[in-house]
Structures are given as C-alpha cells and as structure tokens.
Subunit: 199 residues, 2 copies
C-alpha cells in the first residue's frame, strides 16, 4: 500500500516535482461489514471508510483482497465472497495478497487460472479449493489476465511494485521504490516455496 | 510490525505449535496526541490506543518512533519530541523507522551515536540535526548501544527482523519470517544509498 498509495489523489506524488506526471488519480476505499474499527493481526486498529452495503451499487475499477489467518479465512463471511463475485465482471484488475487468494477462489473467480497464495497455508488452500485452479507454489506473485495474486503478506509489496510498473511505467515506479526503499523481488525470487517443502 | 506482532500477547505465536516458545509477551500501545483517527500517508486511517497525556506516568521498555513526510517531521509537535526525551533514560530499546530518526535526533538522543534514516531525506536530515551525530548513508539499519535506527519505510521490516532475532533468537524468527514471507536483507544490503548519490 505504501507503494500504491503514491497513486492516490492528493498524494505527494502529485505535488512533488521529483515524481514524473502520471495520468492516474486513484481514490481508495477500505470496505468492511460495518464501520467499526478492525483489529489487525499485528498493528493498530484501522477504520473502514465504507460498508459493503454502502457500495452495493458501485463498480470499482480495482479491488485488492487482503488475507488473514487461515482460521479466519476458512470461516470468511459470505458478504465478502459475494462482493468479490459481484465486482469481478466489471473490474479492470483484481488483486489479492496472502490468503486473500482463498477468498477469491471461494468467489469462483480463479477457475482455470494460474494463482499463488501464502506458502505456509498453500497445501490447505490447494486442498480446500476447486481442483480447476492451477496453484503455483514458487512465485512471489502470479498474473493471469487481469487477476494478480501474491504470496504471503510481504510478497504483496513486490506485486504492488510490479502492478505499478504495469500501470504507470518504470520512471514513476523507480522514484516511488527509491523513496520507500523497497528491495523489489523478481517474480520467481521466492525462497519460501522451498522453505515449506512445496518444490 | 507484522514481524514484531508475533511477539504480542495472545498472538498466534503463543497458541500455534509450529512456533517455538519465547519468554516474551509484548503489549503494544499506539500513542498519539489525541484518540482521533490518524490519516496515514498510504492506507486506511488508524486508531491510537492512548494519548501522550495518558501515558505520562508510564515507562515503556521499548518505543518505536515512526516517520512521516519530511515537511511533517520538520514541524513535528514538541509533545512527541518530549515523549522520546523523557522515555529514553529508562528504555531497554529505542527504535526508529524512516524519518523517525529525525525526531529521535531532535530529542537529543543520538548525540555521539551512529544512526541512519531515509535515504531520500538523508541530506536534509543530516544538515538540520546536530553535527555530533554520525549519520551512516549505506545501511538498512544501524545499531548503537540500545538504539536501533532504520532507513526508509521498508527497511523497518529488515530492522524488525534483526531486532526479533536479537531478542528471541533464530528459531522463532525463522518461523515468523517464513510465515510472512519476509526476504530479510543483510544490514549492508542497501542499494538506495547509491540511488540517492550518498556513497
């Protein structure tokens, strides 16, 4: 998010002359079932900006589906799965981070696709989702059509970096990477598939 | 934070048998001037858990001073600087991420120390802080006594990884790193000092 946040309307990237101009101006929503603060796995509580109810008539261009601990995603609310399913046909891009790919799989969106997910939860997710999904064990992230899936949490930054380069090119992305000091990985630079015995 | 969050009281690391036992149980506070939501540079609004006023009689073991855009840190509130100054003598560890080192420098805590900070803001911070601080340009993070300073945002993860290893050893840290898929950098693996012409 610290990478993609540079594409936000009103961000430093639009006012600081060290960034090249980009023809994008993102507005972000953080959507949850209610506006109550969300307790995170590690970090402060965060505030949703809208509820799923409030956006039922909105078609987003891009959605990013985050993950959570396996036991939480195993019992994920049908509201979230249904949101992904409803948004998908009109999306320009669908991104997932970590076990978020499990939610996307539950929404039926990964049928016949290449995808990846958190390596610690890889076997369980592969076993509990459609056999028609081609789960790739060794990858920081996968792209299949307009669907981008990334591996465990930190791999989300590498996917965000590659996604930004895809959207706005290398000039802007290099400045952003150098400011947040992101050591961007190549797509196959994934030691964790091996660490979890998946390759 | 996703790394250090595994040391939190009640976190998965205490209940999931894949993690080795550690004799630590952290409780985190997120301290701000008021309990109002904090707008972040890139991401949702976050909720402080306590105000500086509420913790004026508390001595923490560890504080982590985050950064912000240069223009914000240049005008940083005296309350924050004073909090760092007051906490410092009783701290076991003081950590900073990104331009957070600028705040720590303003509190007088880095006199005679080695420290590092965000490379995009490095020259400005070096010029506007005490000449008695030994700012190190090429480093993901620096350790001097009980003071740990890291470079721009993403380098904070590498410092957190090294700090966890220092606290609880390699067994626990390896499990945590493999779950969040953190590609941990060596301390000197810093391409950004060069990118900003600092070495």
């Amino acid at each position: 998010m610290e990478l993609l946040g540079s594409l936000r309307k009103g961000s430093g990237a639009q006012t600081n002359p060290i960034w090249p101009f980009v023809p994008y101006e993102f507005e972000f929503d953080y959507i949850a079932e209610s506006l109550d603060p969300v307790a995170t796995l590690a970090g402060p509580r965060i505030l949703p900006s809208k509820t799923f109810n409030q956006v039922s008539n909105i078609q987003y261009d891009v959605i990013l589906v985050p993950g959570a601990e396996s036991r939480i995603v195993a019992d994920i609310s049908p509201t979230i799965v249904s949101f992904v399913k409803t948004q998908n046909p009109g999306l320009k891009y669908l991104l997932s981070v970590c076990t978020g790919a499990w939610i996307v799989a539950k929404a039926g969106v990964l049928e016949g696709r290449n995808a990846t997910t958190n390596k610690a939860a890889f076997r369980r997710i592969k076993n509990e989702t459609s056999t028609n999904i081609n789960w790739i064990p060794k990858a920081r992230w996968m792209v299949d059509g307009n669907i981008w899936t990334s591996s465990g949490v930190s791999a989300g930054g590498d996917m965000a970096h590659a996604f930004m380069e895809h959207l706005v090119g290398d000039n802007f992305t290099t400045v952003t990477r150098n400011i947040v000091e992101w050591r961007a990985a190549e797509q196959g630079d994934d030691p964790f598939a091996e660490a979890w015995g998946l390759v």
